[in-house]
């Protein structure tokens, strides 16, 4: 008996170093749709392969639902191990308050600055020269997704740009197809507006409004053109009564709608539905005009912790999230672009390849989350969704409202 117990104890002590790390780490995020869950599972699997335990803290309902819970945990002094935020200004104040782990040493040791592409992504994680987050993917909003089946049913070619698409509108209507799918959530209408703005204005005008916050340019005829296109778009979307973005994507997948202006995360839904880019659907960056993409995306932050074991586990997870293998497996599932320029993404599909090319060419913009505060972005959301749903609001009114918000943005 005694002998056996000793043996068991011995075995246990030997077994211990095998699973070298055994720290539990809570990770909160708002990725719960099909493609998103599969992608986040890649992180979890890789992390657990090292012997640690991933405690999943998924909160559905988007950042609006999840962020108050995350922020509560951090300011209440009982933080989670790691948490998702969008790349940008969302965690600014938490970093300034000293609540986030400084990752600079790890980043320097691993040479993040050498392989992160575009390098601007690291800037979004940097406050006063120190790095506080790991960018994990790049998402761009400037895409239109089009169903081949829908245009075939209407008897037209798949459009190559926005104007061709608008021209196909009547034929689509006749075939009983909603030309443009749009979810009811306000950020989706604002995203569509932003995409139209990038596609239909010169880059000087766009930068004047979005970077210099010049309200006069926002009031100018150059922008009137964008609002007119936006007005056309809302008329093309009448009959698209769905709420979530992926319900709208699903309308395109099934061909009940012809197109959707949406970010590249829509890709994951086409993939889950087994559709092939270039065969079943087409994607046009910059609506076929300005092939420019913004570089939004997600980043993970690691709240400071007293427990050195947790801090060590946090650094392990940070290093793992940006490692080449995990970047490939995660981003293929998520339908987003990797943050590293040095990995092989040849298994990516047509649309992702287009995105990668644009990325490599350097035609990139900062995203709305990086340019404006959440407060301002939500004011845009409210304005755009009100205009989209209430056809009595005129182009002139919405443009004036837009210029006011730009003028007051901080």
């Amino acid at each position: 008996m005694n002998y056996r117990t000793t043996l068991a104890a011995l075995a246990a002590s030997v077994a211990l170093p095998l699973s070298a790390f055994a720290t539990e780490l809570e990770v909160t995020h708002w990725w719960t749709s099909g493609g998103e869950s599969a992608a986040v599972a890649e992180f979890a699997k890789a992390f657990e392969a090292g012997g640690d335990t991933w405690i999943d803290g998924a909160i559905a309902g988007g950042g609006g639902t999840a962020r108050p819970i995350m922020i509560s945990r951090i300011i209440g002094g009982e933080p989670m191990g790691a948490t998702q935020f969008n790349t940008g200004r969302q965690a600014e104040e938490l970093i300034e308050a000293g609540l986030m782990l400084d990752l600079t040493d790890l980043a320097e040791a691993e040479g993040w600055a050498d392989f992160v592409n575009p390098t601007k992504l690291l800037d979004a994680c940097t406050v006063d020269g120190r790095i506080y987050c790991v960018p994990v993917n790049i998402h761009s909003a400037q895409w239109i997704w089009m169903s081949h089946a829908a245009f075939e049913a209407a008897g037209t070619d798949v459009p190559a740009n926005w104007d061709e698409f608008v021209a196909a509108g009547p034929a689509l209507r006749e075939a009983g197809i909603v030309p443009l799918a749009m979810g009811q959530q306000s950020w989706q209408t604002n995203l569509a507006f932003g995409t139209l703005a990038v596609a239909l204005t010169s880059s000087e005008d766009w930068e004047a409004v979005n970077i210099d916050k010049d309200a006069d340019v926002a009031r100018s005829p150059a922008y009137t053109r964008v609002f007119e296109a936006f007005d056309t778009a809302r008329k093309l979307s009448v009959g698209s009564d769905v709420n979530d973005w992926n319900q709208a994507t699903n309308m395109v997948i099934t061909g009940t709608a012809a197109a959707q202006i949406h970010g590249d995360w829509a890709q994951g839904e086409f993939q889950v539905a087994g559709q092939v880019a270039g065969v079943d659907y087409t994607c046009l960056p910059g609506l076929g005009y300005n092939e420019v993409l913004d570089t939004g995306g997600d980043a993970f932050y690691f709240p400071t912790n007293d427990d050195p074991e947790i801090t060590a586990a946090q650094l392990r997870l940070a290093s793992l999230m940006i490692s080449p293998e995990v970047q490939v497996s995660f981003n293929l599932k998520k339908g987003s672009l990797p943050v590293r320029g040095d990995i092989d993404m040849s298994s990516a599909n047509d649309c992702m390849q287009k995105g990668l090319e644009i990325l490599a060419s350097g035609a990139i913009l900062p995203s709305g989350v990086q340019l404006f505060t959440e407060d301002t972005n939500n004011q845009f959301n409210d304005l755009m969704t009100a205009f989209w749903n209430d056809h009595s609001i005129t182009v002139a009114e919405v443009q004036a409202g837009y210029a006011d918000i730009v003028a007051n943005a901080d």
Partner: protein, 332 residues
């Protein structure tokens, strides 16, 4: 009550005072304290985190409480000289210039009035029907009451599904031959608040019916007999005799319904997310969205201060109305 008139103030009733400590703590620290916190910070430009109303300067580094240094944040009043974060009434100015806030108030007014009237009338009629010495009373009562067991998330989801334009009520009526029947409250801005009302009434009327039924059961049989002997029609008996006798229960009912209206949030989020557009936005949602989604605490707190002001007015006015009508009963 006799025992309240005895002398010796402080130590009298000690046990009762000790027993009431949790309540005193809750009212003073949580309700009054947090309300005060809300009001104070509504005058600041706090964004994601609360910003001290007066900024302290480096020169006066006041010894900070220990829990400050461990990473959690101060929310107590610390006096200083610079007023960097104080913005006066700016948050209120923005609030009352916001179309969304004005629309929210309009929506809650529509919902509130309808909900109050319908819940009262419907609850009372249901109770009166059940009070007719009917068979299967238990069955009917359970049917009217069970929705109350379900959360607003569930309620909103179920009614969203029933009112779905492609599969739900609208389609079913159309299939019956009424091709032009239009009832799409989830995506029709003009009637969306009524779509929410239908769900809200479904969930909440049962409890009110129970309260009303309890009130009716409390009425003396002799009163009914007397009314019948005098040949007073039943509806007159209800209006002139029974209802005035039920004032106390109406008071409880009013507290329940009114607090539900002010706090209306989950149902809207689950059923319409405030859409289409902004058509079903409500004040509690404005508060929540501004505080958390927009990370503009100051603005959210200004909105909640307005809500709390409204509530204080209501809580003070309701008891005085009841006192004016209620006569002898002095509880609530």
């Amino acid at each position: 009550m006799a025992h309240t008139k005895r002398p010796s103030q402080l130590f009298r009733n000690m046990a009762a005072k000790i027993a009431a400590i949790p309540m005193i703590f809750t009212t003073l620290v949580v309700f009054v304290g947090c309300t005060g916190w809300t009001v104070v910070y509504s005058f600041t430009k706090s964004k994601m985190l609360p910003k001290k109303i007066f900024e302290t300067t480096e020169l006066f580094s006041i010894p900070t409480p220990s829990w400050l240094s461990d990473g959690s944040l101060d929310f107590s009043y610390i006096s200083g000289i610079a007023t960097k974060n104080f913005v006066g009434l700016a948050q209120y100015e923005r609030l009352w210039n916001s179309d969304r806030w004005l629309l929210s108030i309009e929506n809650i007014a529509i919902y509130g009035i309808c909900s109050l009237v319908f819940t009262f009338v419907f609850g009372f009629i249901l109770a009166a029907l059940l009070d007719q010495k009917i068979r299967f009373e238990n069955t009917f009562r359970t049917i009217f009451l069970y929705p109350f067991a379900l959360s607003f998330i569930v309620t909103g989801l179920v009614w969203q599904w029933i009112l779905n334009k492609d599969h739900g009520l609208q389609q079913v009526v159309r299939d019956m031959g009424f091709e032009n029947f239009n009832f799409n409250p989830i995506y029709d801005a003009d009637i969306v608040m009524y779509g929410i009302l239908i769900a809200g009434l479904w969930q909440g009327t049962g409890l009110i019916m129970c309260l009303m039924l309890a009130g009716l059961r409390g009425i003396d049989e002799d009163i009914w007999k007397a009314a019948r002997i005098d040949g007073i029609p039943m509806w007159k008996t209800y209006i002139y005799i029974v209802i005035p006798m039920m004032k106390p229960i109406f008071a409880t009912t009013l507290v329940l319904i009114a607090s539900g209206i002010v706090k209306l949030y989950d149902l809207v989020v689950a059923q319409t997310s405030g859409g289409p557009g902004l058509a079903s936005e409500v004040p509690a949602k404005y508060v929540y969205d501004l505080m958390f989604a927009s990370q503009n605490l100051g603005q959210g707190l200004a909105a909640s201060t307005m809500m709390l002001t409204f509530v204080i007015v209501v809580v003070i006015i309701i008891p005085s109305i009841i006192r004016a009508f209620g006569g002898k009963k002095n509880h609530v």
